[in-house]
Point group: C2
Chain length 179, copies 2
């Protein structure tokens, strides 16, 4: 097994940090590997309406890292140690202007386990009512409600490119079909 | 809009690098944001058998970042500038010991667009035959063929936690149902 030595913090950002450590490989050579230590994040699948009228509250958000605006589910980074449901309600209110009375966990995912220990918890958010919180000052978000059926087609067919959103939409569709 | 200034390379690893830059927010304050620059990666959905006997070649891989072994689809990082299909065939042979005669693109995803510009291309890999390449020296991989129907249940239900694998399995199931 590869062994790691002398981890050092290379960079500490507002929420996550990069650790680098020298790893000795089975053949005796060594490389320096990077690992992002991350507090985790929440992904929200906010639903309104029923049956064929069921919609998800998607957002269009400018992503500085990509240099473009993308279609995605509301989501956000947890504070270190923050209660997960507190984080879910806070991010929902900040990004959509709604609060939910009911959250249902649709499982967790690691978005990038080759590089980062980030764990995302995905929540269905139901029984919505207006209750906005100010958005983060560095975020540019436009709310975009869309029919679930259309989103399932985009997620399955490949047109939707945000990974967490593909997972959240398809898990929500499976859950709602069974419930 | 937030503006970035003075980007600097904080860390350069074997495949990706971390850039940090000072960003001035609309309220005049500033923070340093981190951005991973990544060459991209491929995700393989290798299939064998037909109908109810259809299996995917999953792997169990030790993930140093998580400190545990996880169930996932074969995948790997592209070399900077490497042809995508060349990368797909190489990673398939390294991680499963099989080559594919037919690759079908199932779309792309950004696994972590808040932090990284990594783009993953997902390929269905069919018409498999044994043709191994030596595995990367830092990887510990066990091949694990599993029925597609079982994997769809794990991916939809939340038991499967690797994000790219959830997307790859559910897109492959939708594609195969239509083709």
């Amino acid at each position: 097994m590869a062994r790691g030595n002398h981890p050092r913090t290379v960079w500490q950002g507002p929420s996550w940090r990069l650790i680098a450590e020298k790893v000795t490989l089975p053949d005796g050579s060594s490389i320096e590997q990077g690992k992002v230590e991350h507090p985790g994040s929440v992904v929200l699948v906010p639903i309104q309406g029923v049956g064929a009228d069921l919609e998800l509250l998607m957002i269009r958000q400018y992503r500085q890292v990509l240099g473009s605006t993308i279609l995605e589910l509301p989501a956000g980074t947890r504070e270190w140690g923050e209660d997960w449901l507190h984080c879910a309600q806070r991010e929902l209110r900040e990004e959509t202007g709604y609060r939910a009375e009911r959250f249902t966990l649709l499982g967790e995912i690691w978005p990038a386990p080759g590089m980062s220990d980030e764990l995302m918890r995905i929540y269905l958010a139901a029984d919505l009512s207006p209750d906005p919180l100010p958005a983060d000052v560095d975020e540019q978000i436009e709310l975009k409600p869309m029919p679930l059926s259309e989103l399932v087609a985009l997620a399955s067919g490949g047109e939707l490119r945000d990974g967490k959103s593909v997972v959240g939409i398809l898990r929500a569709a499976a859950f709602l079909a069974l419930s």
